[in-house]
């Protein structure tokens, strides 16, 4: 009796590792995985951070404040349920003078192919209207028996409070066009933008886009709802690639546990992500 699940996973692993280990001339798509927290993914892979969700600060530090108390957060996911595509993130944040600051580490891959991103973030508040976050990224790519290479990038994020219920967000990643590896593989240059709405204290909605300039634009929308205290439910939709997202968050005192579920309609695969954070806000 053939185990089809095992066979399918084996084929995927062979294909993915084959592409990364034996590229025809150069690498494709290094550091293309988005570093998002489970609740961001659950709410339609929202590319910006959400208040009260410290884990999302790694993708967008503009929710850090100048009075930010010390916090720590971590998350782990296996893309398509594959161990070889494991992604883990850890983030700590605090404040220094008028700046909210953060330090994050993200790892992706297995022992053979590994991507590591270290980010150092700082956020400043201008006139209580505009939050500007700057994040320096240190990229390290490590391929077994082939060696490793490093590169630097940066991400500029801005969050503008249009009124008490609406925020406009924008970010650009790697606008200076960094490259990595002997073949000078372009690191992703990504433009993101969106609107974050809070029509009531229990509901948060988002409409956003994320555009890696080498790929078609990805539009996203999602909602986070808190039906009862401490429990949040999120649902969303990503267009390009076609993903249905859902998940939730449970808060207990300063602890938060998050779960994200992404269903790739065209691939027939799913990704689960879990995260935990200790936040004092």
């Amino acid at each position: 009796m053939v185990n089809f699940s095992f066979l399918r996973h084996t084929i995927l692993v062979v294909l993915i590792n084959g592409m990364t280990l034996f590229p025809p001339n150069y690498l494709y798509a290094a550091f293309d995985s988005n570093i998002l927290s489970p609740i961001q993914n659950a709410a339609g892979a929202f590319p910006f951070s959400v208040y009260g969700n410290s884990l999302s600060s790694i993708s967008d530090p503009s929710n850090l404040t100048s009075t930010q108390p010390l916090f720590g957060a971590g998350a782990i996911s296996r893309k398509f349920g594959l161990r070889d595509l494991t992604e883990s993130i850890i983030f700590v944040g605090s404040h220094y003078k008028d700046l909210g600051i953060g330090l994050g580490l993200a790892k992706f891959g297995n022992e053979t192919y590994k991507e590591t991103t270290l980010s150092i973030s700082a956020t400043n508040n201008i006139k209580d209207l505009l939050m500007v976050g700057l994040s320096f990224q240190f990229y390290q790519l490590n391929i077994l028996n082939y060696g490793q290479d490093n590169s630097f990038g940066f991400k500029l994020s801005a969050r503008y409070k249009m009124n008490a219920k609406l925020e406009a967000l924008m970010s650009i990643l790697n606008a200076h066009g960094p490259v990595i590896g002997q073949s000078k593989e372009n690191l992703p240059q990504v433009i993101s933008g969106g609107l974050l709405m809070k029509p009531s204290p229990k509901i948060t909605g988002q409409v956003s886009f994320s555009h890696d300039t080498d790929f078609p634009i990805s539009t996203r929308f999602g909602v986070i709802w808190e039906p009862v205290n401490h429990f949040h439910i999120a649902i969303g939709k990503v267009n390009q690639p076609n993903i249905f997202t859902t998940g939730g968050m449970f808060t207990f005192k300063n602890f938060r546990i998050e779960i994200g579920y992404l269903s790739y309609a065209n691939l027939g695969l799913v990704t689960y992500q879990t995260g935990i954070s200790y936040t004092r806000l």
């Binding site: 209207l129 503008y160 009124n163 406009a168 606008a175 066009g177 433009i191 609107l195 300039t213």
Partner: protein, 591 residues
């Protein structure tokens, strides 16, 4: 399913056409001809002025004085305001309209900066960012652009810092030099034959100005300054940068596209290394001005091909009672010359003006962009432009005529000639209603190459356009436009109809557009398209079809706006075709 879709579309269009309340808007910038749109820098200046300032102040007047379309009279009024003199602008209708458009409501906000982010979705996505901040005595501007399919987020980026110190006005970064009448250095947009051209051609440059436009190769990049002396003032600039283009014999062929997608375009990106130095001295005397411009440039491409050009020019203007005259003559080290002269007689509401220009073949200075008919600089030209403007009671009449001729190159070469003329009438029967009719005639001879001999052709084109603008209430504007373009001696014409409507509903605004055109003889029709604030887009009908568009604006606070536009066009009369859908969003933020 398709039948139902078509039925719904047709039903929507019929309702749109016959509902008297659903027509359109009119705005200040739309008084310009869609076939000759304004430079982007003008739109950015108006957007910045409208966002940062709340009324006409010395600071906002200084910014507005950089607009390209202002007349000498309008500029003089703004100069007086810059100097702090109290002056009434109600006598100048256009300036009054401009201030009403920019600042419809009085506010007392303290704003130190403004940013806009535009996302333009077509086949791919174009992004634009523009920001301007007033930081104490410094004025800082930033601009970024990524065109469709370009890999780099900031494929084009520019910045400027401007400040005043004593009698100096410094600009570091991207700047432009407007000197004389454009024979040496001017904007990225030239003056073109049209209604009101006499006033534009009369306007002299005002030295160094920050460069705000997205034209990727036009700006000087370096250091520029304006300095006031006892006997006059001096403007100078030093620039070093890379531009797109190629060196062709005795001139530079600069690329206007700014798109870097194909291999050739990427290879041509920053192909030429350019170094330019330019200085302009200007003295005022009683009733007139005189100036001298001297400049030089050195260009080197990636294949080490080099080119050097030196240029000098003198210009002046003089006013004697109702008569004003101006002239500029420029010479280059390539032995090329250009001259432009004009006269204007103005008495009460009557004005007559003429402008003569003669430009050598292949004339090239540094950033010359003088008043000319043909964009192709290979073809020198000799032209005479005349214009008459008058007001007869409630009717404003404007007539112009431009006769031009290509200069002979090689022996036996065909002499290309042409002429343009137009009649424009604006009638305001009562407040809120305006009827605008114009007729344009254009005739250019062209050459058709044959086996035995070349044949010369001439097909005059006549354009008729009537626009009715009606401000039905304070919250509802309507506009209807009928267009006809005829190739003379041909029974078939291109016909077009546009209906537009604008509602203002508190913090929301809605604009709707409908256009339908029948195109014959390949005579394209041009309309103003639905636009985001401070955007200028033309919809060109090259095929028979329909177009429907909508713009939605939302103002969440007094410091921010969100605007979206959506449009759909069918290049078939019967809608049996997949429509081309376009969308864009713009977020304007002030701090």
């Amino acid at each position: 399913m398709q039948i139902w879709g078509l039925l719904l579309t047709r039903l929507a269009l019929v309702i749109l056409a016959f509902n008297s309340r659903i027509l359109s808007q009119y705005e200040f910038i739309e008084n310009f001809d869609p076939e000759n749109s304004l430079p982007e820098s003008d739109l950015i200046i108006m957007s910045t002025a409208g966002s940062i300032y709340q009324k006409l102040t010395p600071e906002s007047a200084l910014l507005l004085s950089q607009l390209s379309f202002l007349t000498n009279e309008e500029n003089s009024i703004l100069e007086q305001i810059v100097l702090g003199n109290s002056i009434e602008i109600s006598s100048n209708t256009r300036l009054l309209n401009l201030t009403k458009t920019l600042w419809p409501r009085k506010t007392d906000l303290q704003i130190s900066g403004t940013v806009f982010h535009r996302i333009n979705m077509g086949d791919d996505v174009q992004y634009k960012w523009s920001a301007e901040f007033n930081l104490n005595q410094f004025n800082l501007g930033l601009f970024g652009e990524r065109d469709s399919y370009e890999s780099d987020i900031l494929d084009y980026k520019s910045f400027f810092i401007r400040t005043n110190y004593k009698n100096f006005d410094y600009t570091i970064g991207s700047f432009q030099m407007l000197s004389g009448h454009g024979l040496v250095s001017w904007r990225s947009f030239p003056v073109k034959s049209d209604f009101g051209t006499t006033n534009s051609a009369f306007r002299q440059g005002r030295g160094i100005q920050p460069f705000r436009s997205g034209h990727e190769s036009w700006a000087y990049k370096g250091f520029g300054w304006n300095q006031i002396f006892k006997n006059g003032h001096f403007s100078g600039g030093v620039s070093h940068r890379k531009i797109d283009g190629s060196i062709l014999g005795n001139k530079i062929n600069m690329s206007d596209l700014g798109i870097h997608v194909s291999e050739t375009q990427i290879e041509n990106h920053g192909n030429i290394s350019e170094t330019i130095g330019i200085g302009n001295w200007e003295s005022d005397f009683k009733n007139g001005k005189m100036g001298l411009i001297i400049g030089g440039g050195a260009w080197q491409d990636k294949k080490d091909k080099e080119f050097v050009n030196l240029v000098s020019s003198c210009y002046g203007s003089y006013t004697f009672t109702d008569l004003s005259i101006f002239s500029e003559l420029a010479l280059t080290s390539q032995n090329k010359k250009a001259i432009i002269s004009g006269a204007k007689l103005k008495k009460d509401s009557f004005q007559y003006g003429l402008v003569i220009r003669r430009i050598d073949l292949d004339y090239f200075a540094l950033r010359d962009n003088l008043f000319r008919n043909w964009n192709n600089t290979d073809q020198g030209e000799f032209s005479l432009f005349q214009e008459l403007r008058s007001r007869l009671g409630p009717i404003f009449i404007n007539v112009y005529s431009d006769i031009f001729q290509r200069l002979k190159g090689k022996k036996g070469e065909f002499v290309k000639t042409g002429n343009k003329s137009g009649l424009n009438m604006v009638f305001k029967p009562h407040n809120g209603l305006q009827i605008h009719t114009l007729i344009k005639y254009q005739n250019k001879s062209s050459e058709i190459y044959g086996f035995e001999y070349n044949q010369f052709m001439s097909d005059p084109v006549v354009t008729y356009k009537t626009t009715i603008k009606w401000a039905q209430t304070n919250h509802h504007d309507i506009q209807c436009q009928v267009l006809k373009k005829t190739l003379q001696n041909n029974s078939l014409s291109s016909w077009g109809l546009q209906l537009r409507n604008k509602y203002s509903l508190g913090t929301w605004s809605l604009k709707t557009f409908w256009m339908s055109s029948i195109i014959n003889n390949n005579e394209k029709l041009y309309y103003w398209d639905v636009t985001l604030p401070r955007e200028m887009r033309t919809k060109v009908f090259s095929k028979t079809g329909h177009y429907i568009g909508a713009g939605i604006g939302y103002k969440p606070s007094s410091l921010s706006t969100i605007n979206v536009r959506l449009s759909s066009s069918w290049n078939e009369w019967n809608f049996n075709i997949v429509p081309v859908v376009r969308a864009a969003m713009q977020v304007n933020l002030s701090i």
